[in-house]
Symmetry: C2
Subunit: 354 residues, 2 copies
DNA sequence: TTAAAAAAAGTGTTCGAGCACGCATTTGGA
DNA sequence: TCCAAATGCGTGCTCGAACACTTTTTTTAA
């Protein structure tokens, strides 16, 4: 009935040796006779010893300086959530000696990114969390950090062949398919469906392309090619203007426009246009629970949002580093976060999770 | 730059007293002169002291015997998930001395419930997690447990006026509205919408009624009364037979049946019927990711499932007890879990969370 | 054969909070 | 005035693991 906690001392007693020796076996600090080692290992297995993390971290007491290289939330409110997420994680992990230094760059300026990335190197953090939105500019730094032995976790943007400790984010392909599924569910008569990449430098954003693939493949897979026509456009405009001109153009060309899928968090821009022109029948799906999106979701102009859980990305990113550095756990190379479907009725539950 | 951890000793030094005294102030163990108490309190606030949970629980080391009063998962696979959830929580909390004893009753037998509930009382656990699916039978026990000073957490079924430490589950009303929203999105031409209570004793299941209310109110709120007609039926049948007869009847009466909302985890029964009769155009929404439901979700016969996160209910239930008993945290009276919308494309992420 | 070196194993202190214990001072009642 | 009780508050041990340090044992070389 009683679950006895196995301590190092128990193992030592059973093996007729001292806890110091057991400790040496556990941490491979050598200087233990082979037969004793074998005996201890066997007993550890037999008693199913699990180190007491509590006592462990109470003792070790060392500081872990983590660095976070992320965009300025003042320039794009999408980045507020990751900030909150890593602050939440920092709070939880402070007890374990975790401290995070933020290196904040301008998401519109590659030089600012490079400057901050250099700074990170100079700081020699124990671990690094990074949103590598500048793909090409980031590449040389990954090599540098690897050489310095700094483990780094990527989030938000998945990059191939750079061997991070872990990538945290969503499966972009699936994400696109999901958006397609939802819109398909709401569409009935033949219609044109628009994939809109709004105000984003597509050349630096491979994941948006992947989303589009997933989206298109869904419609192909459902053998609906005849009924639905998928088109995609990059819609760029200065902030003051809005996308009106481009969308007018598209509607003129495709009068049967039935749905719009916005591949980033800028769905509110399209929503504003739809509202202005009273286009209630055009379905709209986008990403992220930023303020303007929430408003249009509540108005019913945006039908569904897919939550990329940017807060969770920051939170889990830091936790993965801690799991690796402090708790010596195995880290999966990819941690996909759920594709949460959000609508007016369940929005609340995703705003401040847990 | 450095985040200094404030210790009791630091407070003691600043207050020119000993850590023992600070400790007495912190835990209201009296025997401290008023002026000293004031001074210490002020310093605690000033330094923003937060007790080191690690050291705290390392010391205390006392055993917490929790009891879980839940239905047998072998009789209804829905209950597997809560079992897994509380095992997961137990694993995490074993370090803190938590041990869970399960009292498993037959979900179809009130006498079995009563017998197990009595057993719980005899065991005098430190805390109790309970799925009170027998409403009337449970009432006297709540009083008994309260008198014994055993805190209890409810999950799955919300009961009014019994003052649990906390209720864990979903907002049934919202849950119904959400289902309505989804089905509404997929419906176009005028149609009849069926709310199906499948094989459930409705008199003991207030939350199913609440779901139906939420569902109906959504359609009312949207001013769609004219276009959509909401009907509700209790559909009871022996396991071997299936709901075919009842559903045939309903379809005869309402030939324009466009959607079915199953208020519990039995959507697969309706799905089997729809598949058999090739009724591809009838939309179907139900609850819970149990095996049969998953199959029909993958086939596209069930369009969406709402995840009640039964695993999370067990997991969080135990955690709330631990937060209360061990970490002395404030417990909210209600913890609503998110209303997750699940479809084929995002199912994976919800199967084994975190 | 023995001394020195190397290897193996044991000992003791540390981390922060909880709490039992007990000393010192004050208070109260006769 | 004197003793006992009550109050105020400091000391020191505890928890489990880590690691430096010490002691013991074994090996090697002279």
């Amino acid at each position: 009935m009683k679950k006895k906690i196995v301590r190092i001392k128990d193992i030592a007693e059973k093996a007729q040796t001292s806890k110091g020796t057991v400790d040496r076996v556990l941490h491979n600090r050598g200087r233990v006779a082979d037969d004793v080692r074998e005996r201890i290992l066997a007993i550890i297995k037999e008693l199913n010893y699990e180190p007491n993390l509590i006592a462990q971290s109470l003792k070790s007491q060392r500081a872990f300086n983590l660095a976070a290289l992320i965009p300025d939330p003042n320039l794009d409110s999408y980045w507020e959530a990751p900030h909150n997420g890593l602050e939440k994680a920092e709070k939880e992990l402070r007890q374990y000696g975790v401290h995070i230094t933020k290196f904040i760059f301008n998401s519109h300026s590659d030089t600012s990114f490079i400057a901050k990335a250099k700074e990170v190197g100079r700081e020699h953090p124990d671990g690094l969390l990074i949103a590598p939105i500048f793909y090409k500019e980031a590449l040389p730094f990954f090599k540098e950090w690897a050489d310095m032995g700094i483990p780094y976790v990527l989030f938000n943007t998945q990059i191939e062949h750079v061997h991070p400790l872990c990538y945290i984010g969503q499966d972009s392909y699936r994400s696109g398919s999901l958006a397609a599924k939802i819109l398909r569910f709401g569409l009935h008569s033949p219609a044109t469906v628009l994939v809109a990449h709004v105000n984003e430098d597509i050349s630096n954003s491979a994941h948006l392309i992947t989303k589009e693939e997933g989206f298109r493949d869904y419609f192909k897979g459902e053998k609906l090619d005849g009924t639905f026509k998928v088109i995609s456009k990059e819609i760029n405009f200065p902030e003051e203007e809005g996308p009106d001109k481009q969308l007018d153009e598209i509607r003129k060309q495709y009068p049967d426009l039935g749905a719009v899928y916005v591949t980033n968090s800028k769905a509110f821009e399209v929503a504003a246009y739809l509202e202005k022109n009273a286009l209630n029948d055009i379905k709209l799906v986008g990403y992220d629970l930023i303020g303007p999106n929430q408003q249009y979701l509540n108005k019913g102009i945006i039908d569904f949002l897919i939550n990329q859980n940017p807060l969770g990305q920051g939170y889990w990113g830091i936790h993965q580093l801690a799991n690796y550095l402090i708790f010596k756990k195995e880290i999966p190379a990819i941690k996909f976060l759920p594709l949460d479907i959000i609508t007016r009725e369940n929005l609340d539950y995703y705003l401040d999770p847990q």
